[in-house]
């Protein structure tokens, strides 16, 4: 589609109008990002880009690779710093407007025609920017869910020698691994002989969840700790029975309070002064 002459012409214009077009580009891009970067920073970034665009559009293959890398770096930074997609993309697209405005003042018909090629070139760059931006955001989300995984599996001390593991949400393999590691480590650190795994916050117990729970209990048992599973609500109990899952000799209780009482009794602690029951 593009003939060499057209490219050269735009490249010439880009070179000779470097100052005014870059100024206008910085101005437009600065408006778009709303003062979250200083104009000076933006000018540094964009003048680097400008030079690369100039060379890349002039069929310089090495410059094209460098341009893509620089753009990717720029949009990764934008994504990580919470800029919106349009704020990020406008930074690139504004170059079109800057150059177009300049050409309009000259009424140069040939330059107008050549601008079309340049426009699709910039559009392509803008899209590449966008893709990097989206990929980076996805990475940020993946990182966050991993952090959430760690955060959402606390092991708390309920009593001397009794640990509590409140589980909330869904229990998949990755989560179970974290729970198991955290629990086993806490067992070593505290020397607890009892652990209460509370599943009140687990919406559904299917065979995978049950299997993960049993593995955790078995691992703790190997370390000399007895586990009690609590928080088994009526609908969960009925479902487990229908599914045909057997928890064997693992102690289970309806509520966390029952489980705590069980563990206290077993460890020889007598609770007095409470309401009679």
């Amino acid at each position: 589609m593009t003939d060499g002459a057209a490219e050269t012409r735009i490249t010439d214009l880009l070179r000779s109008w470097r100052e005014p077009v870059l100024d206008r580009w910085v101005e437009l891009a600065f408006d778009a990002v709303g003062g979250r970067v200083t104009e000076r920073e933006l000018r540094t970034e964009l003048s680097e880009l400008y030079e690369l665009v100039e060379r890349a559009f002039g069929d310089d293959g090495a410059a094209m690779g460098e341009l893509r890398a620089t753009l990717a770096e720029l949009s990764r930074g934008r994504a990580r710093n919470g800029f919106s997609p349009s704020e990020t993309a406008v930074g690139v697209f504004a170059l079109k407007q800057a150059l177009y405005e300049r050409i309009r003042t000259t009424r140069d018909q040939r330059a107008y025609n050549d601008l079309i090629d340049f426009t699709s070139f910039v559009d392509e760059l803008g899209l590449a920017t966008f893709e990097t931006y989206a990929a980076t955001r996805e990475q940020v989300i993946a990182d966050q869910s991993e952090q959430l995984l760690e955060l959402s599996t606390p092991v708390v001390k309920l009593w001397d020698g009794i640990l509590g593991v409140p589980l909330v949400g869904t229990l998949d393999s990755a989560r179970t691994q974290v729970v198991m590691e955290t629990l086993l480590e806490a067992l070593v650190d505290t020397g607890s002989r009892f652990a209460v795994i509370d599943i009140t916050g687990v919406a559904a117990v299917d065979t995978e969840v049950a299997q993960h729970l049993m593995k955790t209990v078995m691992a703790a048992r190997l370390m000399g700790t007895q586990c009690v599973i609590s928080g088994i609500r009526p609908q969960i109990a009925q479902t487990i029975v229908t599914l045909g899952i057997e928890f064997g000799d693992i102690a289970t209780k309806a509520t966390l309070a029952d489980a705590l009482k069980y563990a206290l009794d077993r460890s020889g602690v007598r609770v007095t002064g409470g309401p009679e029951d």
């Binding site: 559904a204 299917d206 065979t207 995978e208 299997q211 609908q235 479902t239 229908t242 045909g244 899952i245």
Partner: protein
């Protein structure tokens, strides 16, 4: 990310299994199933979705409102994959038999948890499992 009833959702990762559970729970509650029946259907869906992902190499799920005998409202769910299929359906449905390292209760359990269960499988072509649960 919630799909309207009747739409197909992909099952291509463990996260999709979680989404399947949420969609089924919403549909079951909307159809007026009791809390116990909701939980049973969600659990059955969870087993089947995981089978679709783990054994079928991924596939789709479609959840829809349906009407059972005597006009009882309910939910029907169809899981489909284009995986290797089940060579011996009888064996797969028997309790305690597992092709992997699971408990071997998933498929047979899902059948017991639902009111209607239909499994069609062709070796090399894939598997389609349909389950339904009606309000009492």
């Amino acid at each position: 990310m919630t799909a309207p009833p009747g739409d197909e959702v992909p099952i291509a990762s463990n996260d999709d299994v979680v989404r399947v559970r949420q969609l089924v729970r919403t549909a079951a509650a909307a159809a007026g199933l009791s809390l116990v029946d909701q939980t049973k259907l969600v659990t059955a869906a969870s087993e089947l979705a995981r089978n679709t992902y783990a054994h079928g190499g991924g596939g789709t799920m479609r959840v829809e409102r349906a009407t059972g005998e005597e006009g009882r409202p309910g939910v029907r769910i169809v899981f489909a994959d284009a995986g290797p299929g089940i060579a011996d359906v009888e064996q797969a449905l028997s309790e305690g038999w597992s092709s992997g390292t699971g408990l071997g209760l998933g498929l047979s359990g899902a059948r017991r948890l639902s009111d209607e269960f239909d499994l069609r499988s062709e070796a090399g072509k894939g598997t389609t499992v349909t389950v339904a649960k009606w309000a009492r």
